[in-house]
């Protein structure tokens, strides 16, 4: 038989570089900061790194879900800040409890995802354009109820009265409570939520048929459709996952800030997209994956924590983030010749 095939008997140095290069870089970075920056290598510091990337990490996992089906969601940053405003509005102005506020935010995220998916799948609007439109829509919408003001307890309302409600302690606990873990009051709720979501998304994408089918759609939509996959449904679901996770991020943001801040969320969007793209390079996956995304977010977090501790000026941060992203994309696309 004249079949030929690629021989995989041993991995070359290049294969190792692609597979473990980025992880090695991460470890090297930790060691370097551990030596160079005083106080970097402590459990508190480690937990804090997780906390600083929790929100972007959660958003990035949502981005990953849309990237898997070959889509993209530009509206996540705006969804997160809308959830921030909505939760504040629910509690401060409408005087609802924490549960109602959280439920409203999650519902809002799901609906936004549904609309995004509907625009993209049914109306055939290209994904970047549909979610860009949604982004502007949300940035505007979050300002309407308060006429552009931030929401805080005691604020004056458009009708002249003052808001009587406040952030409920249960809600604030989402941002401020810490679980004991060997050390008292160590792990914040947001970190726990990040870890739970990361593991769930990883499990969902790798071990369930839904995740498998989503990867198939991202790689060859036509083939997936002819294999009997309801492609439209899955693509809409991907955008709903993205919307819900973005609103979870927004809820945690609100709980940490303790007020409803007007913000476009563009930095959240860019940081989380960067994390998801860096994730392509982790373990040479060369495709969107939950584990990579989590590592990507962590990578950025470690870098920024270390640099700040070493008193690096703020403008170096974006530079360094960009550098990491470029290197990661190089790992993904140039070194691994799979694409």
């Amino acid at each position: 038989m004249s079949e030929t095939r690629v021989n995989k008997r041993s991995m070359s140095i290049k294969d190792y570089a692609i597979r473990y290069g980025f992880v090695a870089l991460l470890i090297g970075l930790v060691v370097y900061f551990g030596i160079a920056a005083e106080g970097f290598s402590s459990p508190h510091s480690a937990v804090f790194i997780f906390q600083s990337v929790a929100i972007t990490g959660i958003l990035a996992l949502g981005v990953t879900a849309t990237l898997v089906v070959g889509g993209f969601d530009l509206s996540i940053g705006a969804v997160a800040t809308s959830a921030l405003m909505l939760s504040a509005y629910m509690m401060v102005v409408l005087e609802q409890n924490a549960f109602v506020a959280v439920a409203a935010c999650l519902l809002m995220g799901a609906i936004v995802g549904l609309i995004n998916g509907f625009l993209i799948v049914q109306m055939r609007v290209p994904d970047l354009l549909a979610t860009l439109g949604m982004m502007f829509l949300l940035i505007g919408a979050q300002r309407i109820p308060t006429e552009g003001r931030s929401i805080a307890t005691g604020m004056s309302l458009p009708d002249g009265s003052t808001a009587q409600g406040g952030f409920s302690p249960e809600f604030l606990a989402l941002g401020r409570h810490r679980f004991d873990f060997f050390i008292e009051n160590l792990i914040p709720v947001s970190v726990v939520i990040l870890i739970v979501i990361a593991i769930s998304i990883w499990f969902f994408l790798e071990y369930t048929r839904y995740g498998r089918v989503m990867y198939a759609i991202g790689s060859n939509e036509r083939a997936a459709s002819l294999a009997g996959v309801p492609v439209k449904k899955y693509r809409i679901i991907a955008y709903m996952i993205s919307g819900v996770l973005a609103s979870v991020g927004g809820i945690l943001l609100a709980a940490r800030l303790g007020r409803g801040d007007i913000a476009s969320g563009n930095n959240l969007l860019l940081d989380s997209v960067a994390a998801a793209l860096i994730g392509f390079a982790v373990l040479g996956a060369a495709k969107p994956n939950a584990f990579g995304t989590a590592v990507g977010a962590l990578f950025v977090g470690i870098l920024l924590q270390g640099l700040t501790m070493m008193n690096a000026p703020y403008y170096t941060q974006d530079f360094v983030k960009g550098g990491v992203l470029v290197i990661a994309l190089m790992f993904t696309f140039a070194l691994s010749n799979r694409r």
Binding site: S2, E3, T4, Y207, N220, R222, A223, L226, A227
Partner: protein, 511 residues
Amino acid sequence: MLGTPIKIRGLEKRFAANRVLCGVDLDIPAGKVTVLMGANGAGKSTLVKIICGLYSADAGEVLLNDQPFSPNSPSAALQAGIVTVHQNINDGVVPDLDVASNLMLDWLANPKSAPLLNPTKIRKAAEEIAAKLDLNFDMNSMVSDLALADRQLVAIARAMAHSPNLMILDEPTSSLSATEAERLFRLVDKLRASGVAILYISHRMSDIRHVADRIVSMRDGTIVGKYETSPLDYEGAVNDMLGHTMTDVDIMVRTPDDVVLELQELQLKPDSKPINLTAHRNEVIAITGLVGVGKTQLTEVLFGQFTPAAGNLHLKGKTYLPKSARDAINHGVFLCAKDRGTNGVVQDFDINRNITLPFLSSLSTLGFVNRSAEYRITNEAIKKLGIVCQSANDDIGTLSGGNQQKVMVSRWLSHPCDVLILDEPFQGVDIAARRDIGAKVRETAKDRATIVLMAELDEALEIADRILVMAEFTIVGDHKNENVDLDLILEQVSGATTPQNLQKQKEGAAQ
């Protein structure tokens, strides 16, 4: 002016292990239309791509006016006077520019042209180009507003501005209506009269009858037949192209069991003749016919991708009207689609994931995929079809075409079904893999009806109990695969029985 501008000598090309051209010798004389016939994968498009500078040959040479010629890019070929009008019409035009700019596109793209545009000048030059071919376009209209045929004429007119030595027309009528095709043929006549050498590639007998001065048949990377004397022997050419002679697989025709699938008065197009077809368990039906006669539409109807113009389908006695692929699969109708690269293979997946993709719901509980069950199926498939690989986790991209096709076929063999449709299962597959796949399909055919569609007759002879011939979107022949009258089948395939039929075919093919 007349002569033989292009001579091809001993041209060879291989892609990895796959020999696509094995020593092609071909002359293309000026002032004549040389029709190149060949089934999918015969090497036509590779040959064209070498001539127009997209590929380079491994051995042999192309002589242009008796000078060795090996263009290293399409623009080099263009400079040398070799112009190609591609099958996909929109590859030849820029829809968002007006007609004048399209006609002058080569001038616009030339780095030596003046940086500033003079609209009047451009228009005038463009009008001259159009006038050469007696074409009358509104120079200001957008190409995107033109009908497909007009776009094609624009592309050809642009090509003609180079006063070409050789014009290659690759399936130019594939998306034209009958009247549009007529206009194209008139243009071809004009080109011929002006002494251009024309290489015309087509599957369509009606086209070929219209334009051919000579016919060259190609098969498995070599030229297998040349027909130059009038009247041209069209059947002989088709015969060469489909090449049934090498068949040496003996088929034991089996007795069909009960009826599984029934098509009643099914019309693929509002004006096509109805199809009646019955498929039984323990029966392998091959449907053969040239490209573009409705085979693909038929599979799409059966697999819920396309609603027929009229008619009924019955599956196991019940009305069957699938709304989607999922629906068809749930009814026990599987389709192994043609063009595995776009319709079948998921490049990012390994063998295992490619095989189990349609059946994940039956392989999982509460959404969680049962990995051991999945690997059991895959490993069995690898063993049964002899897929050459290291393990079930090999990326599909590392496999050869034949092995990828085996993966696709074994995907659909991995679960029992009532009707299995295989569309061009031997596309881009070497002979050994083809035999493996054919044998496995027949071996497992007992409990289902199997329908295999292909353009090549000898493939049909290798696999089928019954051979149906399709032409003009309907079934024109039904043969038991025992002592088959090959001449009759070829006649039916080429639609050449009576002058009346010929007329009809032209209409049918042109639509």
